[in-house]
Symmetry: D2
Subunit: 388 residues, 4 copies
């Protein structure tokens, strides 16, 4: 019972940030399959995010992507979010969709392109100021496709320079979250390909620069929970971009490909009390829903994070520590597996009822009529997508 | 000297098929960077392919992709190709870019969609008849993104049914080439994910169904030359889609990522005399040139195949066989490496001069003025891309 | 309730074969850590296997490895097994631990070595005759370490020849199960590296040759349940070597690395009623317990297979089929996940009580005193290991 | 010509360290195939290393592994090396072959085991003092096999503590080289799994702690030359353990699996002038020759490093820099490939003749009679292996 209460408390405190672009159309290089009811502007994206929050009670913030979410008046956008019951989360800079960025943005050999890219990063901080966002999230598509195409080392110098200028512009209560990614869109080298690179730059920059772990951005065989544990120990874990993948990339709902891995990640988090909002770890979804309906997929993803967190909180920490200290390999593993094998859905249903929520947010969404509303009302105009 | 002559002869006989879509714009899911001078219709694509053939003497055929290369009169298109000195190669069916295909084409749970997809395959055979093409190349984007989304097994039944109907429509001198691919665009399961699946279906279909190896479509650690050797032994290797990749996909110039691998593949080919055109192996490029100029990249790719073939033909087969039989591990490996380490570029330059070609086709292209011509003339209209 | 009964019935019918060598010492190339109480001969291994069966009611057969389990009188060994309540399962041939096999066994360039290796395979059939075993399980360590070391293709010819001779010697009620493995101990090429190779040879051999899937022997990103579904459809799935691995090899308890994957595999099995013993699929454990106590690890592994099977049997097949047919991606996935997320341990505990077993076999083993007995009695002599 | 002279100079300055254990028997977990003539003690290993140096002029140092190379009098061993014309290189600590280390060495949950392990590290520094070695090379087999087995984070604390104590004992002219490894022998988590972890600890320790890159210890898809470039830029690259692998581990001759990768690595080295011995990068071989004769395999490996270095030195750096600055993707790649495609063997043969060496060290070894001598003389006693 004690553990169940702890699990409920752990989950109740956890806010999962949803991404504005996940409500918009997306696809692969082969095809984007448009869906009915998709938002046509940032306001409508926020409306959808608010629906997710109302149903789950667990998605209080929504991340923006600039320029996909470019508006004339960011203060008004933030106000709209507040009116809807949510807040603006991280501002995601986008320096990969202009023709200028063909050979890179902040690492481009051309100083003019670098200037343009860095200016965009600075502009994103302006938007943070206007929206109250505290996190600047940086992912760079920069890299090269062919050996020799550019100097790997010189690109690091350029990257460091742009990061330093941007970091210098941050307000005292603002952070820089630096993401890494093994590959794609660059095929040969990526300028921030792994956590080590991100960590090294963040260390150089200062306290308010931290690493973001995108769960789908690792080489096969990478132990992601090791990275979580290492960065927590070093005080350099800024947050997650949650999603899952079977092989190559990061487009599936978090927990869909390997729920045990998500549990292991949350076990590291809970073991370090890093689910406590006071610790400032950002738990963000960064997924695309190419063939499945977007809003219920996002609700399902929030629930998946909650379920993994609840299971992690159910781990009998004392028994685990004792078995570990005793070198009882099977006992320690068994203690962890006991928690994973527990069905936490009833517990979370109760928790939701305590919060005045529907115990089954997915079913509640189906009944809510929201989909029928947006399908019928959002006609005309242009559906939002990655390019808009 | 004897080996050098053999190498020249091997290379001289080898025709590399270029792909119409490689001359068009392409990119990643993040961005397509358009290039100046890109063709605006299939006729202009063929013009570019003809330039590659004139400069290399080694690219006599060009593959089409339907509907990307849809025209009113395929006989006229084939005649245009002949006028330009090239022929139509494989017809590539495309059943992945209609909204209907969101959940699959020939494996879709909806029989109406399956019918539509199979009809497209049959239509491609009509185009073969009209253009004189002998090869129907099939790649299916079909698969699922989430466990449970569809029955893996039922999809195989549907696939088998569509393939059988299509195979039955082939003329006596026409072939079906069935490609496989580990992943993408489907994230969880792919309906033809590996050579075993393609092989099993081809075996079921009959003699004129053969496997295509796309060099970029394998899991990490896969020994591709093993597959080449196995399929040659079984009489089921139909051809290659050449390209290269460092991690995930298949967009780089063949030989760019791992020239030693390409050499090992060609060593299996040459060891089995399968470079002899009489054996009917199709050597096709299937690459995209997202950031590099397209025509010179394609010329470079043709040269890479030629260089790997020449090196393979330089292997001292008798010495290799003896060392293998003697269990002389280092001697056998050394014999292979001797050929790989040889610089065959002078030999190929001589061969080209003997053929009345420029010894350096890339430089010849730069001097030819073709790029300036197409850049200036191909203005207005819409550049061809994957979607057109 | 109906589903729960189906789940119990599915699990009750399932026998998991344990491996004699799993009770013996094992390790990595770096070090074997010996454990107290390890068997010193095949009789003691069978004693341990019998303990696992008595506690789980689910491990009625034990596989042998020849020559690790060489005895003078196999009939006596089989009788001993019967006395202990178990039977001899598959006979595993071992043609990789003689100095002669440095460059291969049945694919060795030296015909004398091939003869010796094939003779060993035939001898294993003699042992099948003597013990009543129905399955000859073949795994070949054969392959090469360096490109060029041997002819990939010639090795296939030699393999086919040895398999044909061996197959010809099988009795009418005996099978050949051909395993495949991506890599190791060969570093460059493996002679049976993937399911396609095994399948092609089995097809050539005849009905009583079938493929064995070792769950730990695949390249990263391989969808194993696809292979299960494909082979079931083709009538060529002979069985499993169960184990799990995070990156490279296959030494962990089945279900330990990715319990969701094991569930998906058993979902394919249950969907095809292939858990029904009448279908003849062999469910075998092939694991090594290098640092954890062996017998409880094997019990845990049996339970893991049972839990995955129970969850698979809980899948609402009608709802799943409907969602799949309707193209309801989230609904279909959700139906599968509902079963996976269910805690089946109480259900299985009940089932065991119905069978007159302890509901918790691991705890029952701890209480049984067996470990203390073998620790004290099995002193002197030489502990069994991979080499003996 | 200028470039050729530069290439010769670059290669002439490069010393490749060979490993004492590479001269001894080794194998996989399945089997060690012993070879005739293998050394029986550290003195004989040094004799073989001296042969490699005499023939190549490029292998002046030999690394030791403690306790595999334990002797009573290390000063005498160092003197023996000097007499043979070589020096003692890095001292490699071995804390993975005692029964105590089953659950780890310096990260073991048991403080007594940690003490023992750290004491061994300190003892290795004593041996450095006695032999004149400047480099302490640390590789830890430490990790866990099962999730939950131990606290990932606590193990980092323990690791940091042991490293700090050891670092504190180093002399002013001694270094600590910290290796990382993705997996094996631990199957689930490894305590130093990637360069980021090693880098972070080295940063914490101080200037004389540096990262060692073992080329065979990376996840699929990892860009190793990126790591080289990054660590050079950060002043934290201590050296290499050279070898190559196709899939899983690290036992093949360097350059055997992917010669282009080795070239790209050496291109980063040469671009930073890091081949200059004054920069202190250690170029070490860490390979095992399981089926091929050891001494010629080691000679071949030294030549492979020389050839890659020569090719790297032939890169037209000015043309490359210009093409990179101009964004000329194909031009830049072509400049790199021109160097790679050059056959540098004649150039290196000339260089050797200039040095008074045989132009073909492998052939010279075959003719030298050394193998026949050791085969005949090294009889009786016990051949050295990984365990001795």
């Amino acid at each position: 019972m004690r553990h169940e209460d702890a699990a409920k408390a752990a989950v109740r405190g956890l806010g999962v940030e949803t991404a504005s672009w996940a409500y918009a159309n997306s696809g692969t290089r082969f095809k984007v399959f448009p869906q009915p009811g998709v938002p046509r502007d940032p306001y409508e994206k926020i409306d959808d995010a608010a629906v997710v929050h109302r149903l789950t009670g667990a998605a209080p913030t929504v991340a923006l992507h600039i320029p996909w979410d470019e508006v004339d008046d960011y203060t008004a956008l933030a106000a709209h979010a507040r009116d809807q019951g949510v807040r603006i989360g991280a501002i995601n800079a986008n320096v990969f969709q202009d023709d200028d960025y063909k050979l890179g943005s902040v690492t481009n050999p051309d100083p003019g392109v670098r200037r343009k890219a860095t200016d965009h990063l600075l502009e994103c901080i302006d938007i943070m100021d206007a929206t109250g966002s505290k996190d600047l999230k940086l992912w760079f598509a920069d890299g090269t496709n062919y050996p020799g195409q550019d100097s790997i080392r010189a690109r690091q110098d350029r990257l460091a320079e742009a990061l330093a200028e941007t970091y210098g512009r941050l307000g005292a209560d603002q952070r820089m979250l630096l993401e890494y990614k093994l590959f794609e869109p660059a095929f040969y080298s990526t300028d921030v390909p792994d956590w080590g690179t991100s960590y090294a730059h963040c260390l150089q920059l200062g306290e308010r620069a931290q690493v973001v772990i995108d769960t789908g951005h690792h080489a096969p065989g990478t132990n992601i929970e090791f990275i979580v544990a290492f960065l927590l120990r070093a005080g350099k874990l800024g947050g997650f971009d949650f999603n899952s993948r079977f092989y190559a990339d990061d487009d599936l709902m978090v927990g869909a490909a390997d729920p045990f891995q998500l549990f292991r990640i949350m076990h590291e988090i809970v073991s370090a009390d890093a689910h406590d909002p006071a610790q400032g770890i950002a738990f963000m979804l960064d997924q695309c829903h190419n063939i499945e309906p977007k809003i219920p997929a996002i609700i399902r993803s929030v629930l998946n994070v909650q379920e993994a967190t609840a299971k992690a909180a159910l781990v009998d920490a004392d028994a685990l520590a004792k078995a570990q200290q005793d070198g009882d390999v099977l006992g320690a593993n068994g203690t962890l597996m006991d928690a994973f094998n527990t069905d936490v859905r009833p517990l979370l249903a109760t928790m939701r009822e305590d919060q005045g929520l529907d115990p089954d947010p997915v079913a509640a969404y189906e009944r809510s009529g929201h989909f029928e509303t947006i399908r019928d009302q959002r006609v005309g105009g242009e559906q939002a997508g990655w390019g808009a």
